[in-house]
C-alpha cells in the first residue's frame, strides 16, 4: 500500500518537501516504517530523536499502519 508521510520542522527540510509517498507491505509497524524512512533519508538518524504520529496520536513502535491512516513524522518539538 501507498501511504503519505507528513513532515514538519527539520523533517520537512530533510525530505525537501511537506510530505512523501512511501510504499509499504501489509502489516508494517512503526518500527519498520522508521527503518524504511531512515534508509531513504539517512539524515533522520542524526536527529536527537523523532516520533511517528498515527491519526494525530503518538504511536508506539509496535503499532501497525493501515491504509488511510494519517502518518506524520514528529522531530523533537520546541514550542513554547
Amino acid at each position: 500500500m501507498e501511504i503519505t508521510v507528513l513532515a514538519f520542522g527539520i523533517a520537512k527540510d530533510i525530505f525537501g518537501r511537506e510530505s512523501v509517498q512511501i510504499s509499504l507491505g501489509k502489516n508494517t509497524d512503526i518500527a519498520s516504517l522508521k527503518e524504511i524512512l531512515e534508509e531513504q533519508y539517512p539524515k533522520l538518524k542524526e536527529l536527537a530523536s523523532y516520533m511517528i504520529a498515527v491519526n494525530d496520536e503518538y504511536a508506539h513502535a509496535d503499532i501497525v499502519i493501515n491504509t488511510g491512516d494519517e502518518i506524520a513524522i514528529i522531530p523533537p518539538v520546541s514550542g513554547g
Binding site: 514538519f8 520542522g9 536527529l47 503518538y58 506524520a72 514528529i74 520546541s78 513554547g80
Partner: protein, 138 residues
Amino acid sequence: MIDILLSTEPLDVSHCINLVQSPECGGIDVFIGTVRSQTKGKQVVRLEFEAYERMAIKEMRKIAEQAMDKWPVHKIAVHHRTGVLQIGEVPVMIAVSAAHRDAAFDACRYIIDTLKQTVPIWKKEVFEDGEVWVAAHP
C-alpha cells in the same frame, strides 16, 4: 472550562486572562512566553513557529485536562502562536484560575513544562548568518 487556541494572529493577553476569570476564584496565574533577542550569546533576528495543527490542539487540550484532574483549578486557557515572530512578541500564553494560588501556580507550571515536551510545534531561530531548528540535533 478549557480554552485552546493556535493562531497566526498576535495573542491577546488581556482577553486570555478575561477568559479564565471567575467569581469563585481567588487568583489567576499567568505564564507569558516572549521571544528572546539572544540564544547562547548569538543575536536572534526572529523566530518562526510551525505546528502540526490538529495534533497540537489535541495535545494542548490533553495537557489542560490532565492539569484539571491533578489540581483543583477552575478555568484554563492555553494559547499558542504560529508563523513569524519578532523579538518581544508572545509565542505562548497560559492562564489558570483557581480558588487558591498553590493550585494555579502548580497547574500553570505543569502546562508550560509539558507543552514544551509533547505538543507538536517547532521553533526555528533565524540569525544574521543562518538558521536552526531548535532541539533538532543532540
